[in-house]
């Protein structure tokens, strides 16, 4: 999985498939058990001390739940200046004003506390905290899912605007495919902790190859006659402690073949930048 500068990569998948784990591991909020994470060519797993601190500043996160990600006992002013204070970076009234303006918040809100704000305002503060240090990568962990519909659009628009202004890259974690289609340049589809298909947004939406992706796509509510036939997955998601042998999706796959139960599928690039790991694809293409 790679993410270029100024690009948005979306990770989609059902609940509990490991989307958030990926995001949190990148920021080392949880320690990955294996593998490596490269940022600007450096393996952040091995970095310590000052170098790591500098690098860490370039990566920020926007949380899913704006209510719980802001300390209820801190005023807005303290919340949005925390990034500067924590990293001993100079700031003044202008810095705060500029930041509040960037996320379209009125300065009058500075002395308020999170519980006095609306959900949209809270999420904007979350955004302000993330962009305060001018990061190059922002992990957006379902940034809009706790908000109502009209506010969602505002927040997403704000994120787009920030990307334009700063050239920041997003790792956009979501289960809402409509939002993903609007936001993402590329999409990675995850099932049970593995990426099963990855490609440009058009490739995934128009030419999806993995049965899991197709099932996900068919679940998008659509209006009018272009409604696709729903693929309903049978059975429950296997538990994380007993991951199925072979393809991790075979227990629920509608197109399962014998080989799926025994062999882990390899990843094949079916067109430029569009990778799939599925036996069906390997055989036919």
């Amino acid at each position: 999985m790679r993410l270029d500068k100024g690009e948005t990569l979306a990770i989609v998948g059902e609940s509990g498939c490991g989307k958030t784990v990926v995001g949190w591991s990148i920021l080392r909020l949880i320690e990955p058990t294996s593998g490596e994470i490269l940022f600007k060519g450096l393996n952040i797993m091995n970095l310590r001390g000052k170098r790591y601190g500098e690098l860490k500043r370039k990566m920020q996160i926007i949380f899913q739940n704006a209510d719980s990600s802001l300390d209820p006992r801190m005023s807005v002013r303290n919340l949005i200046t925390e990034p500067f204070r924590a990293n001993r970076i100079f700031f003044n009234g202008d810095t705060i004003r500029e930041l509040m303006e960037k996320v379209d918040l009125n300065e009058e809100l500075l002395e308020r506390y999170p519980h006095e704000l609306s959900g949209g305002q809270r999420q904007r503060i979350g955004v302000a905290r993330a962009i305060a240090l001018k990061p190059e990568l922002i992990v957006a962990d379902e940034p809009a899912s706790s908000l109502d519909f009209s506010v969602q659009a505002q927040i997403l628009y704000l994120l787009k605007k920030i990307q334009r202004d700063y050239g920041v890259s997003y790792l956009f974690i979501s289960h809402n495919l409509n939002i993903v289609r609007m936001m993402a340049d590329r999409i990675a589809v995850m099932n049970m902790g593995k990426i099963v298909e990855m490609g440009r947004t058009e490739d995934i939406f128009e030419r999806s190859a993995h049965p899991y992706t197709q099932a996900l796509l068919s679940a998008i509510p659509a209006i009018g006659s272009d409604r696709r036939k729903r693929i309903i997955l049978k059975g429950e998601m296997p538990s994380q402690s007993e991951i199925p042998k072979g393809c991790r999706f075979h227990t629920r796959c509608p197109l399962k073949k014998r080989i799926c139960e025994t062999t882990i599928p390899t990843t094949t690039e079916i067109s430029s930048g569009h990778c799939v790991s599925c036996h069906l694809v390997c055989d036919t293409g």
Partner: protein, 280 residues
């Protein structure tokens, strides 16, 4: 906060507790000006006199004015209880936060020490320490602090464990806050609120313990006008002059009850869920 203040005012018992405590505090602070006599002044001519206009609570076996002694006793009990609670809270806060936040070996070590302390009845440890250090009031305060912090550290640890997992803590770590900053800016302010309430509730028990130990002769020594030692000093005259035991006993009861009423009220106000359950 405003809401909880309102519901405390609505709660009659808590209100009674709060006003009693305020009155007791005023008495304690203004003891020299509200007490009619010097509590230490011996007047053998007037020894063991019954309550009268001159001496509203009578005099003790050395002719000292009992009301003045009770008033000064308020001051002693209140300061000692506040001191014990505060020091216990501070030690408990340090131990509990370190143990809850860092976990692992720090947690194991600290909590095993706490377990050892909890394994003995606190009264026995208090008696032992007070006995070893010698029976003075200062040593009793030390002894009660040694046993007092243990419970707080447990509570603060569990409170810290809850707060630690919240998104805003993860968020400030992602932003680059150091452990120290996370602890002082986010964890302590959010974890301590319920504990402070508990500490209020506990003040009554601390006063009870102080007086009990003094009564046993392990705390304040006779000339000091402390309720527990006054009870002890009044014991030989229980039949001839029962007021010598009734008044200090009453004061202890009133104070402890006031703190318990207020503590209950505070708990209901800060955690309405408990109360709601009872009402159903």
């Amino acid at each position: 906060m405003f809401k909880s203040a309102r519901s405390i005012l609505d709660d009659k018992l808590a209100l009674i507790g709060l006003s009693t405590i305020i009155i007791l505090l005023v008495i304690a602070i203004c003891a020299p000006s509200v007490s009619p006599y010097d509590p230490m002044k011996i007047n053998l001519q007037e020894r063991l006199s019954p309550p009268s206009l001159e001496h509203p609570m009578g005099t003790d076996d050395l002719g000292r004015d009992y009301l003045s002694r009770i008033i000064y006793g308020t001051r002693i009990s209140m300061t000692a209880a506040a001191l014990i609670t505060m020091i216990s809270l501070i030690i408990g806060l340090i131990v509990g936060t370190a143990s809850g936040y860092f976990g692992g070996i720090v947690d194991e070590t600290l909590m095993r020490i706490v377990d050892i302390m909890l394994a003995f009845p606190s009264l026995i440890i208090t008696i032992a320490i007070a006995g070893i250090l010698g029976p003075t009031f200062e040593n009793l305060i030390i002894a009660m602090t040694v046993t007092g912090w243990v419970g707080y550290s447990r509570l603060i640890r569990s409170s810290v464990l809850l707060v630690k997992e919240q998104d805003f803590v993860v968020s400030s770590k992602a932003i680059g806050c150091s452990d120290l900053r996370v602890v002082f800016d986010h964890i302590v302010p959010n974890a301590i609120a319920p504990i402070v309430v508990l500490a209020t509730l506990d003040m009554g028990n601390v006063i009870l313990g102080l007086c009990g130990m003094s009564f046993l002769g392990l705390g304040a020594q006779p000339p000091t006008p402390e309720w527990g030692s006054m009870l002890e000093a009044g014991k030989p005259f229980m039949e001839s002059m029962p007021t010598l035991m009734i008044f200090p006993g009453l004061m202890i009861m009133i104070t402890v009850m006031a703190f318990n009423f207020l503590g209950d009220g505070l708990r209901d106000a800060l955690d309405p869920r408990i109360k709601a359950k009872v009402e159903i």
